[in-house]
């Protein structure tokens, strides 16, 4: 009896709703059309702020660090100078003139009987008060900075925005056109309606294929920042920052390109490769030459082109191996070479030549001539491991320890150094 009742109830329900139709409700149609035609705009607004803020942050970093780099260098120079002029008996010295050089040679002859070691002893051993003189020679070679020739980040960002806008507009217009055609096709004639449905289905299938194609070319834009250091003993930790974009070949293999900015200051390890002036060569040949220090400063744009291979793929995280080549664009590169020499004579205020032992310092600043050596293509080999964590909505956070090996001489001073550090990177997915 119970089973019979249930069977009858089921049949009743089936029969009741077999041909059931609800009356047309325009409000529901409005809802549906609104939901179908307008959702993409929401997605558009979801990632644009990230893109714009990313580009703005990158530009801000460049604008902030660029002038500060110069100021810092000037400050260091000022501090060095102030240490030198703390002595009250500091006097301005000019470059040794020709006649003074002759006098100096004569004096050296006269003093030939003196102990040679005494001549190179620090000035504090002398009975006379110390005089430390410092002289900065004019830059021997002047160059136009590489900045004017490098591509503007703002311009690159603007082009990217324009291309994304065009893509969105084309997709929306195509979708609106298809649906518009469908609305017109709503007629009672079943055959015509069927033809429309078939045609529409074909179009949507085609669009689906193209969407799949697009989705396979998913692009991600990222910001990275992280500490780095070079293998050079004279350089400590610096901060690098930049933007990177990632193009997927497939689920595991990706192309990683970008640009990062960092400022370096190091002690050249190959002094023979440094640019030298004739004046400095003649100074260093003299017997009064004590020694020299050199320093290489430059700001660099590192443009890596890497391949990322995902070795471990989990739902929320992944582990990557990254390798590729880096090209370097150098901005504001210069070397400072400071020579110290013994001086035995000085000119008093009355103009008389007086014997006074002191140490003179000459600094030679050199820059690349005419923008030469401003770029090294593929000069560093990148090796890195990256751990990526999916936060939400296509936002990824990565930690990438890396090491860059030199493949040849770099900078206009022809130095070789490797760079190591950790990048903290945030990627934002573009597109659907």
């Amino acid at each position: 009896m119970k089973e019979q009742f249930d069977r009858k109830l089921v049949e009743k329900i089936r029969d009741s709703f077999l041909n059931h139709e609800e009356p047309f409700n325009p409000q529901e149609w409005e809802k549906l059309s609104h939901a179908y035609f307008h959702p993409r705009k929401k997605k558009k607004f979801a990632y644009w702020p990230f893109l714009i803020s990313g580009i703005a942050a990158s530009l801000l970093l460049v604008l902030v660090f660029w002038p500060i780099g110069d100021d810092l260098q000037k400050n260091v120079q000022t501090i060095t100078d102030s240490i030198s002029i703390e002595n009250k008996q500091f006097e301005k010295a000019e470059l040794p003139r020709q006649e003074e050089s002759e006098n100096l040679a004569q004096a050296e002859k006269n003093l030939g009987s003196r102990d040679a070691n005494k001549a190179v002893l620090p000035a504090s051993d002398s009975a006379e008060p110390d005089v430390v003189q410092r002289e900065v020679s004019l830059p021997i070679q002047h160059v136009a900075t590489v900045t004017d020739q490098s591509p503007s980040l703002e311009e690159m960002g603007r082009k990217l925005e324009q291309s994304m806008d065009m893509k969105q507009d084309i997709q929306e217009n195509a979708a609106n056109e298809k649906i518009g055609n469908l609305v017109i096709a709503q007629r009672d004639d079943t055959k015509t309606a069927q033809q429309w449905v078939d045609a529409w289905k074909g179009e949507v299938a085609g669009a689906g294929k193209s969407e799949q194609k697009e989705s396979s070319n998913k692009m991600r834009l990222g910001l990275l920042v992280g500490p780095q250091t070079t293998s050079n003993a004279g350089e400590g930790m610096t901060l690098g920052a930049g933007i990177v974009s990632e193009f997927s070949f497939n689920n595991r293999l990706k192309l990683d390109v970008g640009v990062t900015y960092a400022s370096h200051s190091m002690v050249p390890e190959r002094n023979d490769a440094l640019p030298q002036s004739d004046l400095m060569s003649s100074l260093s040949a003299r017997s009064s030459f004590i020694g020299s220090d050199s320093e290489l400063n430059f700001s660099g744009l590192d443009i890596p082109i890497n391949l990322k291979y995902k070795v471990m793929d989990k739902e929320k995280s992944g582990l990557y191996l990254i390798s590729g080549l880096s090209s370097m664009v150098y901005l504001n590169q210069k070397t400072y070479e400071t020579y110290a020499m013994n001086s035995y004579f000085t000119t008093s205020t009355e103009g008389a030549l007086a014997f006074r032992q002191s140490v003179q310092e000459f600094t030679h600043e050199a820059r690349p001539e005419g923008g030469a050596d401003g770029m090294d293509l593929g000069r560093m080999l990148n090796l890195s491991v990256g751990y990526e964590y999916n936060l939400k909505n296509g936002t990824y956070l990565s930690i990438e320890p890396y090491y860059k090996l030199p493949l040849g001489d770099m900078t206009f001073a022809n130095q070789q150094f490797s760079i190591g550090g950790i990048n903290f990177r945030m990627n934002f997915r573009l597109g659907k």
Partner: protein, 154 residues
């Protein structure tokens, strides 16, 4: 719409399910295979959307009290007097899980295994819920019939 009405708690909810189903149809039309009936494909989408709707709204899973089975035997003829509105009201008075299982098993013809896969519950629970749903429907129809009879006598 009739499918969504049977699975939903109200007409508004049914409209939302239908709208969502149409969205899915438009988006996935490329995946539709021509050798299959469009009606069957669309029906499946509607049912899946109804289940998704149920899943979205279920925040807590709790066992329901086991009711004592009534042994009162119903008269099958009372079913004939039910209107569409009565049936919808009866179905909507069922707890959501029971309503879905009843619809899927009895009306759509899914197996217990398929239902348990869809809802993420064991097949034994599915059978229990179905039995309870039937029992509740029987009780409610009997009660409805009794009210009508009393009204007719007065």
């Amino acid at each position: 719409m009739s499918i969504a009405l049977r699975y939903s708690n109200s007409r508004e909810e049914a409209c939302e399910i239908v709208n969502d189903s149409f969205m899915k149809v438009f988006d996935k039309l490329g995946q539709y295979a021509e050798e299959n009936a469009f009606k069957g494909w669309f029906r499946r989408i509607l049912i899946n959307t109804s289940i998704d709707y149920y899943r979205k709204n279920v925040k807590y899973y709790a066992d329901m009290e086991i009711e004592k089975a009534e042994h009162k035997i119903c008269d099958p003829s009372v079913v004939d007097e039910l209107s569409k509105e009565d049936i919808l009201d009866l179905l909507r008075e069922l707890p959501e899980a029971m309503r879905i299982i009843f619809n899927m098993y009895e009306i759509e013809g899914y197996s217990h295994q398929e239902i348990s896969d869809s809802l993420g519950i064991p097949p034994s629970t599915c059978r229990t819920y179905l039995a309870r749903a039937k029992q509740k429907l029987r009780d409610k129809i009997t009660a409805l019939n009794r009210i009508r009879d009393e009204g007719a006598v007065r």
